[in-house]
Amino acid sequence: MAHYHSHDDDHPDNEFDPMTARVKALETILVSKGLVDPAAIDAIVDTYETKVGPRNGARVVAKAWTDPAYADWLKRDATAAIASLGYTGRQGEHMHAVFNTPETHNLVVCTLCSCYPWSVLGLPPVWYKSPPYRSRAVIDPRGVLAEFGVQLPSTTNIRVWDSTAELRYLVIPQRPAGTEALTEDQLAALVTRDAMIGTGLARVAP
C-alpha cells in the first residue's frame, strides 16, 4: 500500500497533490449538483474523530470484566449488550464478542476488505486494511503477533475470525492480574484497541 506524505512543500500554493485534487473535484461536483451537503461530511468526520472510537469498546470490556451478568449477556447477545451502553449503528449492527481465555487467543481479520466493528472501535487503522495483515493473519498469526510484540505460549490455541459477512467481532481480552481493586474506569484505561482486535493484550496494571 502506498504511504502518504504531504506534497505541500513540493508545489506552489495553488496546486494540490493528486489525491487531494481528485477528491476535491468529486466533492465540488456532488455539492454543486445538490447531492452532498459538505456539512454532513464534517459531521461524519467529527463523529469518528471525537465520538466513536476504541474508548467505546474499552467500556464494554471493562464492564464485562467486572459484571458477570453483563459478560454473560455479551456472550449470548453482544449486539444488545453493547447497545445498552449506547454503542450502536454503522458497522456494528450484528456484533459478536469473543472471549480470550488462558487456553485460547482470538484474532480478528477481514481478508476480503476491511470489515471492522466501527461502533465499538471506530475507524480501522491502516495496517488492518493493508495486504500484509490481511494476507498473513489466517496463515501465520504468530508471525503477525510477533510484529506487534506479542508472544503467546506455543500451546495456546489461536482462533482467527475472518469477517467475511456482516457479523462484527470484538475480542474481550483477559483481565490482567492484580487489577481486583481497580474501578471500571481504571480498567477501561488498560484496554487497548489492539487488545480488542487480538493483535495485543490488555495493559498490565499500573
Binding site: 500500500m1 502506498a2 489525491m19 485534487a21 477528491v23 476535491k24 468529486l26 466533492e27 461536483i29 456532488l30 454543486s32 449538483k33 445538490g34 447531492l35 451537503d37 456539512a39 454532513a40 461530511i41 459531521a43 461524519i44 468526520v45 463523529t47 469518528y48 450502536t88 449503528g89 454503522r90 458497522q91 456494528g92 449492527e93 481478508t111 476480503l112 476488505c113 475507524l123 487503522p125 491502516v126 495496517w127 493493508s130 495486504p131 500484509p132 490481511r134 494476507s135 498473513r136 489466517v138 496463515i139 501465520d140 498469526p141 504468530r142 506487534f148 506455543s154 490455541n157 489461536i158 482462533r159 482467527v160 475470525w161 475472518d162 467475511t164 459477512a165 456482516e166 457479523l167 493483535t199
Partner: protein, 218 residues
Amino acid sequence: MNGPHDLGGQMGFGAVAPEPDEPYFHADWEKRALGLTLCSGALHKWNIDESRHARESLPPATYYAASYYEIWIRALETLLVRHNVITPDELASGRADEGPVATPPLKADRVPAMLARGGPCDRPVATAPRFAVGQRVRARNIHPEHHTRLPRYVRNHVGVIESARGGFVFPDANAHGQGEAPQHLYTVVFSARDLWGDDADPTLSVSIDAWESYLEPA
C-alpha cells in the same frame, strides 16, 4: 471473483507495520473521502455489496498500489458514473454540468441518527437451515466471476459448522441488482492443517462466516 482483494494466505506483502498513536486520518483528503463515500451511499443508488464489488474490481496493480481511501474514491467514481449520478465528462473536468438538481438526502443534522442506526442486514428466511451445528461441511469449489464472500483459501476444504447465525442478505445476488435473496449464514471453523497442510500451526483454527449456498455436506 478471484480478485486482488482476496488476500488470505497470499505471500510477499512484507511485515505488518503498526503505527504508534496512529492518527485517524493521514491527510485531509481522507476525511473528505470517508464523508463523500457515506454521503453518496445515502443517495441509495447502490448497496454495500455493490460498493465492495466496485472496490475489488479495480485492476490488481491499481488495487495494490492504492491506500484504502484511494480504493474507496476510485470505486465511488465508478459507482457514481454507473448509476448516472454524474457523467464521465463531469468527472473528467471536475465541474458539474448543471446547477443543483436535488436536495442532499443526508443533511448534517441527520448524520448522528443515520450513523447510530446503521443498516442491519439480517432477514427472515422461509426455509429451515440445511446444516446443523457440529456438522462437517465442505466449502464449495467455485470460482464465480461475480461478487462473492467465499474466500479462495477455504474453497474445497472441510470445516465444521460452529454456529447458525440466522438469515442474512446474500451479497452475491445483492451486489448485482438481483435483490437481497437472503440465505442462512453459518460460522464454519477449519483447522489450519486442513487449510494449509501438515506443516501448519497445530494450535491454529480459522473461521469464516458462510452463506448456505457456499457449503455442501462433507
